[in-house]
Symmetry: C3
Subunit: 353 residues, 3 copies
């Protein structure tokens, strides 16, 4: 008897709700491991002094660590059998989490579409994560390509409502947090909201090489059990030939590498879209480029502004040596093979007093 | 001057007692690392909500993490020079441990036997681990093959009392813990004691590939200083050619992989026997098969029954593709080369209310 | 636009002070990771029972973990562009740190010297680390070779005051700590101050092989962002061809390996000098030899004496097989290629009651 789990295309139906199992209490150990795996230097997530200065009573959990843990809950039900993670939209970081919080995730199926090959299709989901008090911490839309188990199975198609071009920040606030109290001596930079202009672009100078244990430790920590990250024996017989690195690990690496140059971009508020444009494998060195694509001021964030970033992850070639992100091929724009991530997100950054 | 430590066959005598050094306080960091190394998803060990529901006041330490830490204490005195770890019997998980507990281990030599080659012999030990209050948490019997330092040394032989076929559960209880309060939404499965039948067999679908840093981080975390896990230079000149993975890491991986299909098998109560039937090395992918070999009901576990499991670990071949575990060779049954673990243990699982 | 950071020779001037950014709160997770990365067995750093026995109210942070975290703060300002870390002097472990403490580092430039090639020079620094109360925990002198950005830039040379031959212990104390209460059952050895003689030498029997993830996890944990440890792509074009292991990792490994034979050498008080005599890379197996070069008794350490150790790290050859540390070449003594560390430091060890 096999215990094979995970759902196939025909197992999903629009409106279906999953209350994912395995609540997860976040510990100091998780935060240390995340730091050791990514090399993060943002002091908000490693310094009680910094956290207290802006009025957090303890060190918050890194936004992306929270995302990975929340996301990890959903894998077994939603994407264990997925062929590809196609995209993200409207990731909203609604409230921070802290050591001791217990995270649960929930997912609603918001769209379903069969591919013309009749052997796969696309599932659109809206997921959210909650703490032990039922406070919503995080929500996101994603769509994944999932195979059918039986080619003949009937699929009830329903397209999702139009996906938003950008994360809706209007409902996000940080009550009681005074980001303008950030001590710039803690971040090492006095570049604030006013010092960034739309069109600015930065090639962050550091690169980090990923080894097998790095990404597998990270993904196991998140209890993300997608097999293609862990099972080298199985992967030998795929076109990839070896374990594929969890795309979220690349997002985290780019966030970490971009501390240099964006030292005061203290929290992520929302992610507008994200594409894993090429696979990454152990041995790849990841570099990052950031472009400032917009500047926003929202009344609920007193003393802080918002930068909209378009961030690229590159493998095995520093951003400073990359001129073109995409090439035209048969009339279509495709990503060049070094580009592994194209993500668009909002960060909060203090304004000059 | 060499500081070479560890004992040889002639250093042991029946009745001898070792109070092992290096008490070890378990931290949140240990629990996170264990989770990241093994990919455990059992919510009892990562969710305060789940732990509280069954009446634990905090998250208990994973049974096997406790075992590895307790076992690690004994290595320097008992098996630093061991040629092979031959077997286990009567491992009893008497009481749970929690973050903050300080673990100490003690060992009594219960048997000694010289091999006919006169250069090695077998040491039988009974070990136990205690917390800071002197409460016994865990005990186990194991036997190891240990070399003599001087071929001419006299060995006082004494065979141990007959080893029990199964762990004695009569003395184990979980006072105040109400396993029937387990929230099945937390584990994601409603398969309970009644849903498993003797003879059921499961090939768990996931595999996990082990890298060098995985198993060495684990073993260093347990302060298990057996050299063959760490010293690649030394191992080059052995028949193994490279570092050998700690057998306990395979036990933990199989326990973790078998969550799929045994989601409510919430705690290990005892291990009846265990054989590391073939060595494992970095690069191996581990799969797991579980057979239900018995069902027990003990009055002290209200609302929960006990499954006896025979669990096999396989390398580089999923259980679903393995038909024979053993082959006959010269009239003896030997394990096939893919079979790396054959372990027999009891798990507690809630009954239907 | 590049975000390239770090200073060049002409950016430094004598007397200049850096208050390094990114305060770092130490957690239980950091301590567990350090243990898992190094395989430490010194019970003072993993056993609350042991810590309490000598009168610490909680488990102190391993001296070298504190050093690495404190040192990590200084890298971005001082040595991000360094060609080589040339030496250490007068490292003083003034006060212990504990879980929850927030560490900040400060550096003063105490010397500056241009090399005759006019393209590099030497920067001498005095650094110190403080906790959240402003208590000084640690200070050290080091000197690094740093390139000039512009060959023509003028350098204001100033030699540092004569560097001390040994760390000044006169100002170090451990108020209220009663090391003579150390329970020798916790360390497993009854060898105390009186049992070591000047001239004793130990080849510690264990070796530990370093893998890429080991040293990169360690260095990222310390937020030491020196690129040559992380960026394999960049390192391909250097004479090293691959990532270089952080020298501090070798110091920690030697300290850990030397527990065997120096079980009661409970804390490091000061480091007199240290040389990374050859580079180390993933795959290298590290061994250690310790020589007792002096014995001191200072009145402020009641019940404990001080051993001065000269410790050598060797790669891929056990100390027992190494006869000569150095060779004469063109009239100069150079280290043999297996010798990777030559460090001279003071440890505190209880005296017989």
């Amino acid at each position: 008897m096999s215990t094979q789990q995970g759902n196939y295309l025909e197992d999903f139906s629009p409106g279906q709700i999953f209350n994912h199992p395995i609540p997860r209490t976040i510990s100091e150990g998780d935060a240390s491991l995340y730091l050791a795996l990514l090399g993060n230097r943002n002091p908000l997530y490693c310094s009680l002094k910094t956290a207290n200065a802006v009025n957090f009573k303890s060190i918050p959990i890194d936004d992306l660590l929270l995302f990975h843990i929340a996301f990890g809950r959903t894998v077994n039900d939603i994407s264990l059998n997925a062929v590809a993670n196609l995209g993200y939209a409207n990731i909203q970081f609604k409230n921070p989490a802290f050591v001791g919080d217990t995270i649960s995730s929930q997912t609603k199926i918001i769209g379903l579409k069969e591919n013309s090959n009749k052997s796969t299709g696309i599932v659109y989901v809206q997921s959210a994560a909650f703490n032990q008090d039922g406070t919503e911490l995080l929500s996101w839309i994603r769509w994944v390509m999932v195979p059918k188990k039986n080619a003949g199975a009937k699929i009830i198609e329903q397209l999702p409502d139009a996906l938003p071009d950008s994360a809706d920040l209007s409902i996000i606030e940080r009550k009681g947090i005074i980001f303008s109290n950030l001590d710039l001596a803690d971040t090492g930079s006095n570049k604030l909201f006013e010092d960034y202009q739309i069109g600015d672009a930065f090639n962050h100078s550091s690169g980090i090489t990923i080894d097998e244990t790095d990404h597998t430790l990270a993904t196991k920590l998140y209890q993300n059990n997608a097999k293609l990250h862990f099972d080298a024996h199985m992967m030998k017989d795929t076109p990839f030939k070896r374990r594929l690195i969890y795309g979220g690990h690349i997002i985290s690496l780019c966030r970490s590498l971009s501390f240099e140059g964006l030292e005061n971009a203290i929290q992520i508020l929302g992610v507008n879209s994200g594409t894993h444009s090429n696979p990454t494998f152990a041995g790849d060195t990841i570099y990052c480029r950031t472009e400032i694509t917009d500047k926003l001021e929202l009344s609920q964030f007193n003393g802080a502004g918002i930068l909209r970033l378009r961030q690229f992850g590159f493998k095995n070639k520093p951003g400073s040596k990359i001129s073109e992100i995409t090439t035209e091929k048969n009339g279509k724009k495709i990503y060049n093979s070094n580009t592994v991530l194209d993500i668009d997100y909002f960060v909060l950054i203090p304004r000059r007093k």
